[in-house]
Subunit: 254 residues, 3 copies
């Protein structure tokens, strides 16, 4: 099984599907998403860390690659029975650590020849690499000539919030399609809290969207375990004035 994640929109991902199927017409392909926020390595890291652990063992092709055409390396990051094939810009590391039982990952460089283009390494470098890794098998990646262990690579860790007794200082990691502003504040911060101030404005803490009236704001713990700023049947990003990258200060109100 090979999963596909990118910021390529459409129809570029189809070229990757074609390459993968030409390498192995029997391989199972599963799209994760191809509308990840464009050239936003951190957002791609967040979403794949969220989604990939739901999958059974697989090779995960993950291409969000602002450095396409430069000499940045192609990586194979092994995490237990999974492998992520991605550019060396840190995008694969958060998901890989989430996939590995003990967060221990192995990082390999994938050596590629001069690719056919400088603008579409998804087709010309990463899809062939994912097909090759899938062909040889995740457990035997090191037997593969084009692959060699590396110690130096770009790492990425999603920012962690700072929490005092009553206040969490965090950041909006992404805004989802519903407009929910997903922060990096751990959900545990809301345990037994009924009301908070978000950047100074008082809002209720809810168990679910429906815990407030339609159109009303709330703060809740999302399915990723983080605090998010939402509106029941509306857009939290607009109601709270929050975008990806904005800081949030969340205070417990007694």
């Amino acid at each position: 099984m090979i999963t596909l994640s990118s910021d390529f929109g459409s129809p570029y991902p189809a070229a990757m599907r074609g390459v993968l199927l030409s390498a192995d017409p029997q391989v199972r392909l599963v799209d994760v998403a191809h509308d990840l926020p464009r050239q936003d390595v951190r957002a791609a890291a967040f979403w794949t860390r969220f989604v990939l652990p739901e999958f059974p063992p697989a090779v995960h092709l993950l291409v969000v690659d602002p450095g396409v055409g430069t000499d940045r390396a192609a990586l194979v990051v092994r995490a237990g029975d999974h492998a992520i094939v991605a550019p060396d810009n840190g995008v694969a590391l958060p998901a890989a650590r989430a996939l590995a039982v003990d967060s221990s990952v192995e990082v390999f460089a994938y050596d590629y020849d001069d690719p056919a283009s400088n603008t579409f390494h998804g087709r010309d470098v990463f899809a062939p690499a994912a097909a090759a890794v899938h062909g040889v098998g995740v457990s035997r990646v090191e037997e593969f000539d084009s692959v060699s262990p590396v110690d130096e690579y770009v790492d990425l860790r999603l920012p962690v919030s700072e929490t005092t007794d009553r206040t969490a200082y965090g950041e909006v990691l992404v805004v989802d399609d519903f407009g929910n502003a997903i922060t990096n504040v751990p959900g545990a911060f809301l345990t037994e809290v009924e009301r908070v101030r978000v950047n100074g404005e008082s809002v209720p803490v809810g168990d679910s969207f429906a815990s407030v009236a339609e159109g009303e704001r709330l703060v809740t713990v999302g399915s990723h375990g983080n605090v998010e700023c939402d509106v029941n049947r509306g857009r939290g990003d607009e109601a709270f004035g929050l975008s990806a990258g904005d800081t949030v200060r969340i205070e417990r109100v007694e």
Copy 2:
């Protein structure tokens, strides 16, 4: 085979794919759509009633769920060789009746434990339920411990138009991606009619978009069998000033 329909946008549906594949790595998954009009139970009922009958026997996972996190039940609705797994808000019933040979459906509650989140029951409740139903087999759903027949559930019937000799009083059910305003007036109302008035404005009845010049309005019978208000190579919703939920009065012009 499991089909997937939701209003989740992206990348949330990928988490459901992962759950389904973790339960059975061999299961065949087919996406119907994940951009159904957001939290619009009636539109989801219309579109799945339109699309699901094209499929061979399958389990259909259908999650448009404004009540996520409340205590609304999870349902398994059996219709012949098909089963729809959906929240108890009526969304499954129109498609289920269309799938059943004689419109007779069987409704079961799917008993679920405390889910991991209150905001993403697609991942935490409905995908596991669909995997379980697929595993046990649609014909043997009742042998499954978590499943029990229910008499009370939320039903939903799409509104029916009222038709007199010369006038149909209907409603726009949905606007499709092309901008076609699809009403609930049966196509038979246009039989041997060459011209109608839609909310007072005279427009031709056409067999196909191309029966009028580019940019011109027409009324035709869509592929769902209903009357729709269209523009050849343009947007009918804008030209007619119609949105989902609007009433339409269509008069035959002799």
Copy 3:
């Protein structure tokens, strides 16, 4: 294997998936794209010429069909081990020639009965035709009763640029999701050129997006082999003021 390409948006493609799976529940389906520029036969021809050659032998269902409901024919275009099933409006020819080893293609008409609708031949004509071609096998298409060779059909050739010693006169074929304005000027025109004027404005030629600073314009050779007008991490169409169909004059600057 059957690939699917259309301008149908969502959820109409799901009806085609259902039809194909009802004909053969085992058939492998692969989506190319369903958001091809609406009713733009030339753009669909460009994109499928770009993408389909990446695929192993397959039946390619390709429906961009402004003439739906008129008496235009349905075609099966065979190109080596591939077949494209499409309306007779030229859309299939560029990809078919790219798929055929020597550009030689065979064109057949697919004879269809009165379809269930005049607005959705993707479901009612082309998906059944693709299923039938897949069932009988690409190499045996002519044994199939509904299929007969034709000499007359709508051909389409994407416009070719004219190039003098120092100047290429071309056209923007499509703008991709990134905003890159893809022209029909062959990439070879940029060989060993460091700077060009695009419609009079001087811009650098780059090997990759990253060869200029973020937000800066460049001209490069895209993954399709054509010259494209881009912005590093921005939209070339906006920065250059170019849309599909616009003419471009590209001059080498010594």
